[in-house]
């Protein structure tokens, strides 16, 4: 390990580090614009200049200079200070200095660094250049005159997002960042270039001119719009979520966030349920809580417990799911299910429904078989990690299912279960790849097991895993990629039919035939409401989506930004979301609604506050006792032998931008759907 001296302090740094990294390790802040530790090194902003000896007697760009044994690095010598001032003065020559009307103001790298490292005035008398703004699409607002050409956005699009759509055209003073002419940025991760942009050239379009960063109350939380469990920061003003930003978590989302998770937050302001409703004479009318509870309690009295059923939706938090389970147990009904997509997952075998390799484990894998999944739309941030692994090389990817562009080269093996059998029997060449790999990985989409033959598909995938060493000592590469934030938590809590109970399909069948008289939907909107027949439907949730329209009683709950809730992501990581503001209107936290209901029917649940409920959760399943940690699952038998149909694996995320009640209510997501979705370019008059 080379030893270097930074400002007189000798430190040891890892070989291959850059001088900038050595300075950071020594606790010295080096100003920079183009350097970003997750992107390739460009070395074009020149802000990170330091003095290095031995070496030429001039300042050196520290981001692009490798450390060498015995280097003397100075980060605050007169030469360095003068050089930084010079660079800053040059950068500001063509920068408009329109901070008062710039959305980046207050969180702008250029602003901050000009203050700390810049010259106190400008000597530039000539005209500044002006650059035409570009159309980057519905999410990113451009003000290209402000651009300082760090090329972070270009490198992000090319390297991380895997869409080569951004570039720098022209040269010298005429250089401009642009998209391929006439195109918008089509990546699912495009919003991240807003965070990466060190100036106000790329800002958030939906957030434009709405708030200053210092006015916002920041709450650290967890995203629930996919099953990755990206760590987020919710910026709210009063009872309004203004924007959502990613929060660093190396093991989950690093510092990226998918566009849906970032921009769907305006959906939290629309179509909201803020008071209870009761259906009277075919119409929902506003009611108060007592009336709503009384209506449900009266209905419950009219039927046997086995006619009651409950379905938990995709955005439900673990607290409310456990409360729902306990409520159903109190009522005496075994009909409960958290798998509203009908996935044939076994709550008894935890390894069957987890992304066992963990998201960070993707970095260690050396071959990947994707079965019936499109990680790009189902878990965009996770897909970026697969791409990064692929870029490192020695990583073959095979895909069974729809032939889609995953942003990395994947060999399309086939469309349906038959190909999976071919791999198992060794008839497909990809079997050789899995055989040769030391740490092979299998990703099964949640859609692949949500079919009638789902259990057989799962069993076949397990057989493939066992045959080709996907599961062995110190490595479990069997990964089920969930789409719903609630799914793993629901299965961990055992929200599956009890003895003689009905699953989602049979609840729907029972509702249609009249055997099921009351269905409690905990934010479940993705089922076919027409199949609920004449059942009495209680919808507990936060958006007036499919479920609320069908409901006989609507109980207004809290969205994920309004309650403290526990979510378990696809890899089994238990994480806590925090409330950024109180629930709207008369809405309440969901577990509290269920607790109150239990009191109305005279069977109160055994907890009165979140702490007690969480203790009960940890008791129900010890994994909930370890927050922010993954409890690895033990391998065991799961799935069921059986015939698999020939039907190809379908792509279940038809439109990345709208998958849940929140994103369906979002104007921004509607705009994305229109411009970037599967039927882009179609206007309202089409069809």
């Amino acid at each position: 390990m080379p030893k270097v001296t930074v400002d007189g302090v000798e430190i040891e740094v890892a070989p291959g580090s850059t001088v900038l990294q050595a300075c950071e390790q020594a606790g010295k802040e080096i100003p920079r614009f183009c350097y970003h530790d997750r992107l390739s090194i460009a070395g074009n902003c020149r802000m990170c200049l330091v003095e290095v000896s031995p070496g030429p007697p001039k300042p050196q760009a520290s981001c692009a200079l490798p450390v060498a044994e015995g280097q003397q690095i100075k980060t605050d010598s007169p030469m360095v200070k003068k050089a930084r001032r010079g660079v800053m003065e040059m950068l500001l020559i063509n920068h408009p200095l329109d901070c008062p009307i710039c959305d980046q103001g207050g969180e702008c790298d250029l602003q901050d660094q000009a203050l700390f490292y810049g010259f106190d005035r400008s000597r530039f008398q000539e005209n500044k250049r002006a650059v035409k703004d570009k159309d980057f699409g519905p999410l990113i607002k451009t003000q290209m005159t402000r651009c300082i050409h760090c090329t972070r956005c270009v490198r992000f699009a090319t390297e991380v997002a895997g869409v080569e759509e951004l570039g720098a055209i022209g040269r010298g003073e005429n250089m401009e960042i642009t998209t391929t002419i006439g195109q918008m940025v089509t990546s699912e991760l495009s919003g991240n270039i807003i965070d990466l942009c060190p100036v106000g050239a790329l800002t958030s379009k939906p957030f434009a001119f709405t708030a200053r960063p210092w006015e916002l109350r920041k709450t650290e939380s967890v995203d629930v719009l996919d099953a990755v469990g990206s760590n987020i920061r919710i910026d709210a003003r009063g009872s309004e979520v203004m924007r959502v930003l990613p929060r660093l978590n190396e093991a989950v989302n690093e510092e990226w966030l998918s566009d849906k998770s970032r921009f769907a937050c305006d959906g939290l302001k629309r179509q909201r349920l803020d008071r209870p409703y009761v259906r009277e004479n075919g119409r929902l009318r506003e009611a108060d809580w007592d009336e709503a509870f009384a209506a449900i309690a009266a209905k419950l009295k009219t039927m046997p417990a086995t006619s009651v059923a409950a379905i938990a939706g995709d955005l439900a938090d673990c607290e409310s799911m456990l409360a729902l389970k306990d409520l159903m147990a109190a009522v005496g009904s075994p009909n409960i299910d958290c798998r509203q997509d009908g996935a044939k997952l076994d709550a008894g075998a935890r390894a069957s429904y987890l992304f066992n390799a963990t998201i960070a484990g993707i970095d260690d894998a050396d071959a990947l078989l994707i079965i019936g999944s499109n990680p790009r739309t189902e878990a965009a941030v996770l897909n970026a990690r697969i791409r990064r692994r692929w870029l490192k090389g020695k990583f073959s990817v095979g895909a069974i299912g729809e032939n889609v562009d995953l942003t990395y080269r994947a060999k399309h093996l086939g469309a349906g279960p038959r190909t999976l059998s071919d791999v198992l029997e060794g008839r497909d060449d990809f079997a050789r790849v899995l055989e040769a790999a030391e740490r092979p990985m299998i990703i099964i989409g949640s859609g692949a097991v949500a079919r009638d033959d789902g259990a057989a598909v799962l069993a076949t995938a397990r057989a493939v895993a066992e045959k080709y060493g996907v599961v062995k000592d110190g490595w479990n590469g069997f990964c089920l990629l969930q789409r719903a934030a609630s799914r793993v938590g629901g299965l961990d809590l055992g929200l599956v039919p009890g003895q003689g109970g009905r699953d989602v399909a049979r609840i729907l069948a029972g509702a249609a035939s009249g055997e099921i008289g009351l269905v409690w939907l905990l934010g479940a909107d993705e089922i076919d409401m027409n199949r609920l027949g004449s059942a009495f439907v209680v919808y507990q949730g936060h958006h007036g989506d499919a479920g609320a329209h069908r409901a006989d009683v609507v109980l207004p709950g809290a969205a994920y930004t309004e309650k403290s809730g526990t979510y378990v992501n696809t890899e089994g990581r238990v994480q806590r979301a925090n409330a950024a503001h109180f629930p709207l209107g008369e809405a309440k936290e969901d577990w509290a609604i269920l607790r109150a209901m239990s009191g109305v029917i005279g069977k109160p649940l055994a907890y009165d506050n979140l702490a007690q409920l969480r203790a009960r959760m940890a008791q129900a399943n010890p994994v909930f006792g370890r927050v922010d940690a993954i409890t690895p699952a033990t391998w065991g038998p799961f799935g069921a032998a059986g015939a698999m149909s020939d039907a190809p694996f379908a792509n279940l995320v038809a439109n990345f931008y709208m998958t849940d009640p929140i994103s369906r209510a979002s104007v921004t997501m509607a705009r994305c759907t229109e411009l970037l979705g599967p039927n882009k370019g179609a206007t309202g008059t089409h069809g």
Binding site: E164, G167, I169, R171, T180, I181
Partner: protein, 195 residues
């Protein structure tokens, strides 16, 4: 001026040339051929690169269109808008300027009838100012197509333009006939050897 063509494809002859250029580079490194291919496309298309040609080159080299667009916009030798059939590129950088490029420009503008950066209305000649073309020792000079015209005087300029207008090919090289960048007063070294 002709509008942007919707499509572009190499002629059979140029396709063979392009394939030969690509074959010079190791497999997987075909992107190295981007500049020669753009040059070939520009020559085929009358001296300028339409967007369709850039897309065609990108497709041939399996590159994103933006990557080729970056290259095409970086080099001033690639014209992204139509130019005259003859494009006269005058160097006005310091050595040429010291040796009288102002007079060359004045003579050119007078003789051709347009200013620098403009094309004659019949689309015959484009005048353009360029940075140093690396022929300082023969300053002042300009470039027409692949040929350098060096050691120019205003009279030379008028003669060359007259030749072009008459459809003749003016003889490139030094107008005072000095070879191999020798001093104007004749070679001072290696005088014993014949070149």
């Amino acid at each position: 001026m002709s509008a942007e063509p919707q499509t572009f494809a190499f002629s059979a002859e140029n396709k063979a040339k392009a394939d030969a250029i690509i074959a010079k580079y190791p497999a997987g490194r075909q992107r190295s051929a981007v500049i020669p291919l753009l040059d070939l496309a520009q020559r085929q298309n009358g001296g300028w690169l339409p967007r369709a040609a850039i897309a065609h080159v990108a497709e041939m080299l399996e590159l994103a269109e933006i990557r080729v667009w970056e290259v095409a916009t970086f080099y001033t030798m690639f014209n992204l808008e139509p130019v005259g059939r003859t494009c006269i590129e005058v160097c006005t950088t310091t050595p040429c300027w010291l040796r009288g490029s102002d007079a060359i420009v004045a003579a050119l503008e007078d003789e051709v009838g347009v200013h620098l950066g403009e094309t004659t209305s019949d689309g015959a000649i484009t005048l353009r100012e360029v940075e140093c073309l690396g022929a300082c020792v023969h300053a002042p000079m300009f470039q027409i197509g692949d040929d350098y015209f060096e050691d120019l005087t205003a009279e030379d300029v008028r003669a060359i333009v007259a030749d072009i207008k008459a459809g003749r090919s003016p003889k490139p090289g030094s107008r005072i006939g000095r070879p191999g960048a020798a001093p104007a007063s004749g070679p001072k070294v290696l005088t014993g050897k014949k070149a």
